[in-house]
C-alpha cells in the first residue's frame, strides 16, 4: 500500500501559475488534458523530451497550460510547425493538440499531407463540432442539421469523418473516443506516443456553451450521459463506417494500428542508398 498522497499526479505537467484556465464549465477539453497528463505518467516519457504544439482556438490553448516545451502557433499551422520541430530534433516526442476547426478546416491540407508523409507525430483532435473561441460557428465537423451561429437554419454540408480522412491519408494509428471514455483516451494516448509514425486520436467533447445549448442538447453532464448511452465500442471498425450524425450512436474505438516506415526513416534510407558515404545525415538538422 502506498501512503496517502495529497499531490495531484497531473500537476507536474501543468503550468499551475496559469490557472484558472479559460474553458467553460462543462467543457471537455480539460478532461482530455487530464487524460494527457495521465498518459504522460504512464508512458514514462522523459518530460523534457515532450513538445506540444497547438494551433488557435479553445483547444489551441492546451499547449500553453502544459508545462512542457509548448508552442501556441498560428491558426491551422500546428502540424507543419510540428513537422519542422520533429525533423530538426528527432529525439523529441512531438504532440499536436488542437481542435477540429483548426486541424481540419484551415489546417486540413497540412493534416492530410502529414499523414501521407507519415511524420512521426501524434495528433490529438478535440472535436466539439464547432468553433468555440469565436462564438460557435459551423465547422467541417458539424453534423448535418445542427445549428451554429453561421448556420442558423441548420448545417447543410456533409461533415468530414475524421478517422476515415486520417486513415485514407496514411495515418498508422487512428482511434476515436469521447470525454466520457477517460481511461480509453489515456490509453490511446499512451499507444499513440509509442507508435512510430502519424498517429491520430479524435476525442469528441462537449461545448455546452455553444454547440449543446444551441442544439438543445443540455449541458456538459447531459452530453456525458449521451456519450455513455450512445457510444458503441467497435475496435477495428472500418473507418468508412464511423460517420457521426446529429443524433444516434457514436462508434468509438481503435480503428487503425498498422506499421509503415516514417518520413524520417524513408528519408534516411533513400539518401543513404543514393549517396552512400557522401550522406552526412539529416536527423537533428
Amino acid at each position: 500500500m502506498s501512503a496517502l498522497t495529497t499531490i495531484n499526479p497531473v500537476e507536474p505537467f501543468l503550468r499551475a501559475d496559469r490557472m484558472p484556465h479559460i474553458w467553460c464549465p462543462g467543457c471537455g477539453i480539460g478532461t482530455t488534458v487530464n487524460c494527457f497528463a495521465r498518459a504522460l505518467v504512464e508512458s514514462k516519457l522523459p518530460i523534457e523530451k515532450v513538445a506540444v504544439v497547438s494551433g488557435i482556438g479553445c483547444t489551441g490553448r492546451v499547449a500553453g497550460y502544459l508545462h512542457l516545451d509548448s508552442f501556441h502557433t498560428t491558426h491551422g499551422r500546428a502540424i507543419p510547425f510540428a513537422t519542422g520541430l520533429k525533423l530538426a530534433n528527432p529525439d523529441l516526442n512531438v504532440v499536436v493538440y488542437s481542435g477540429d476547426g483548426d486541424l481540419i478546416a484551415i489546417g486540413g491540407n497540412h493534416f492530410i499531407h502529414a499523414a501521407r508523409r507519415n511524420v512521426d507525430i501524434t495528433v490529438i483532435c478535440v472535436n466539439n463540432f464547432t468553433y468555440g473561441m469565436t462564438g460557435g460557428q459551423v465547422a467541417p465537423t458539424t453534423p448535418v442539421g445542427a445549428t451554429a451561429s453561421t448556420s442558423p437554419y441548420g448545417c447543410f454540408e456533409r461533415p468530414f469523418n475524421l478517422p476515415f480522412l486520417a486513415e485514407s491519408s496514411g495515418a498508422v494509428y487512428v482511434a476515436r473516443w469521447t470525454t466520457y471514455h477517460v481511461r480509453h483516451v489515456a490509453h490511446a494516448m499512451v499507444e499513440a506516443f509509442q507508435k512510430k509514425g502519424f498517429s491520430f486520436i479524435e476525442i469528441l467533447s462537449p461545448c455546452p456553451t455553444l454547440y449543446q445549448r444551441r442544439n438543445k442538447m443540455g449541458d456538459g453532464l447531459d452530453t456525458m450521459r449521451y456519450y455513455k448511452q450512445h457510444s458503441v465500442i467497435r475496435n477495428g471498425a472500418h473507418t468508412r463506417e464511423v460517420d457521426i450524425n446529429l443524433q444516434g450512436d457514436i462508434i468509438v474505438g481503435k480503428f487503425v494500428d498498422i506499421e509503415r516506415p516514417t518520413l524520417h526513416e524513408t528519408m534516411e534510407q533513400q539518401l543513404r542508398e543514393k549517396l552512400q558515404d557522401r550522406y552526412a545525415g539529416g536527423g537533428g538538422a
Binding site: 523530451k49 516545451d69 501556441h72 499551422r77 507543419p80 510547425f81 519542422g84 530538426a88 552526412a280 538538422a285
Partner: protein, 388 residues
C-alpha cells in the same frame, strides 16, 4: 558576442560561376542553415533545388511542403528544434507567408525568408523581374513589427548577403528578408566563396541559465532575450499572443506596449549598426540616384552616361533597404538638388526617399511596371530633368 567560424564542410571555397539563386543557396549553407522548407515557385525554385541536392552531403534537411503557409512555419518549428532554417519564395508565395513573418517577429524566432521578386500583382509575370514587393516586405504582416530586408544586386551579393541575413536574424532574433529579383536570381556571374575561416557567424543566443532561473522573454541588456532549444528541459511557452516575460499570454494594453515597443526597439535603437548602403560619386553630386537590386546596375550605367555629359550625379544604393538609410538621405537632402529614384514598380521606395528628404530636395521617380529592367536612357533623361 564571440562569432564562430563557418564549418569548412559547409563552404565551397573557391571561384565559381553561379546564378544568384544558387549563390543564395550556397550562402545559406555556408551560414550553417541545415533546414529549409519550400514550395516550388518561379523564379525562386533553383534556390531550394540546389539546397535539396547539396544539404544531404553537408548535414541537414530539405522538405518540400504542401504550400507556402506550411513552409513558412515548418522553418519556425525547425528553429525552435535547434536548426538554422530558411524558406524561399516569390510574389504569390510571399503573400501567403506574411502571417508567419509576423509570428516569427512576435515569438522572436531567428529565420530567413528569401523572396525572388517577379512582376505582380497576383500571378503577374512569373518569369520576369519586379521590385514591387518592397512595401510588402516592410508592412505585409498585420500589426506593428520591424524586420530587416537586404537587396543583393549580383550573384556574389546573393551569397554574401544571405550569410549576413542569417547573422542579423540571430543577432536580433527576427525574421530577415533577402529581397532578390528575377534578374539577380537568374543571372550567372563569378562568385568567390571565401575560406570558412573568413566567414563569421553570429551564434544563437542560447541561455546559459539553469531552467529554474530562466525566463524566455526577459530581455537582456540589449533588449533581446535569450533562447532555449526544445528538448533541453526549459519547457518554455511560445505564443503569438501578446505575452509577458514568462511567455504567458497577457491580454492588456500595458503588456502590449511593453512587448511591442521592445520588439520595435530591437531595430529602431540599432539603426546605425543595421542600415547599410553603397555610395558612388556623392562628394560633388547635385543629383543622387537611388536604386537597389538589379536596378542599381542599370542606374550606374546611366550615372556614367550623365557624368560624361557633365552632370554631377552620384549613386546611393541601399544594401539594407529596411530599415531605410534615413539619416543618410536626410543629410544628402540638405545639400543636393534632387533625387532620382529608380525601381521596378510604380512607386514604393520613392515614398521613403520623399519622406526622409522632408521637402529639402525634390524626388524624381522613374518607375517601371515590371517584366524588364529600365533602359539606361530613361534614367538618364530623368537625371537631366532632376539637374535642372
Amino acid at each position: 558576442m564571440i562569432l564562430n567560424n563557418a564549418i569548412p564542410q559547409c563552404v565551397l571555397t573557391g571561384a565559381h560561376f553561379l546564378d544568384g539563386d544558387c549563390a543564395c543557396s550556397e550562402g545559406a549553407i555556408a551560414a550553417g542553415a541545415n533546414f529549409a522548407a519550400g514550395y516550388p515557385i518561379t523564379p525562386s525554385t533553383e534556390v531550394v533545388e540546389h539546397f535539396a541536392s547539396r544539404i544531404p552531403t553537408v548535414g541537414g534537411v530539405f522538405l518540400q511542403m504542401e504550400d507556402e503557409l506550411a513552409s513558412s512555419i515548418a522553418i519556425l518549428g525547425a528553429t525552435w528544434g535547434g536548426a538554422k532554417a530558411f524558406t524561399v519564395t516569390s510574389g504569390p508565395g510571399f503573400s501567403l507567408m506574411m502571417e508567419h513573418i509576423g509570428y516569427a517577429a512576435m515569438t522572436e524566432t531567428p529565420c530567413v525568408f528569401v523572396d525572388v521578386q517577379r512582376g505582380g500583382p497576383s500571378t503577374g509575370l512569373p518569369t520576369l523581374p519586379g521590385q514591387a514587393d518592397m512595401m510588402q516586405a516592410r508592412w505585409g504582416s498585420h500589426g506593428d513589427y520591424e524586420i530587416i530586408a537586404l537587396c543583393p544586386n549580383s550573384p556574389q551579393e546573393c551569397f554574401d548577403l544571405t550569410i549576413d541575413a542569417f547573422n542579423l536574424a540571430e543577432e536580433f532574433r527576427i525574421p530577415v528578408l533577402v529581397m532578390m529579383d528575377e534578374c539577380v536570381g537568374h543571372m550567372t556571374e563569378k562568385v568567390v566563396i571565401p575560406p570558412a575561416s573568413d566567414i563569421k557567424l553570429f551564434p544563437r543566443r542560447y541561455t546559459s541559465l539553469p531552467p529554474s532561473e530562466y525566463l524566455p522573454y526577459r530581455p537582456g541588456p540589449d533588449g533581446i532575450p535569450e533562447m532555449a532549444r526544445a528538448g533541453e528541459g526549459y519547457r518554455t511557452e511560445v505564443t503569438g499572443l501578446t505575452h509577458d516575460e514568462h511567455g504567458y499570454p497577457a491580454m492588456n494594453w500595458q503588456a502590449q506596449k511593453k512587448l511591442v515597443s521592445r520588439l520595435l526597439g530591437k531595430i529602431r535603437n540599432n539603426l546605425d549598426r543595421i542600415t547599410r548602403w553603397e555610395e558612388r560619386g556623392l562628394e560633388d553630386a547635385e543629383v543622387v540616384v537611388v536604386a537597389y537590386g538589379i536596378t542599381s546596375r542599370v542606374a550606374e550605367r546611366a550615372m556614367q552616361m550623365a557624368r560624361a555629359e557633365g552632370l554631377q550625379v552620384g549613386l546611393l544604393r541601399p544594401v539594407v533597404v529596411w530599415p531605410f538609410p534615413e539619416k543618410r538621405v536626410r543629410e544628402l537632402a540638405a545639400r543636393v538638388r534632387s533625387f532620382v529614384v529608380v525601381e521596378i514598380n510604380y512607386g514604393q521606395i520613392v515614398h521613403e526617399v520623399e519622406r526622409c528628404a522632408g521637402g529639402q530636395a525634390r524626388a524624381v521617380f522613374v518607375g517601371h511596371g515590371g517584366g524588364a529592367v529600365h533602359e539606361p536612357e530613361e534614367i538618364l533623361q530623368a537625371m537631366r530633368e532632376a539637374a535642372q
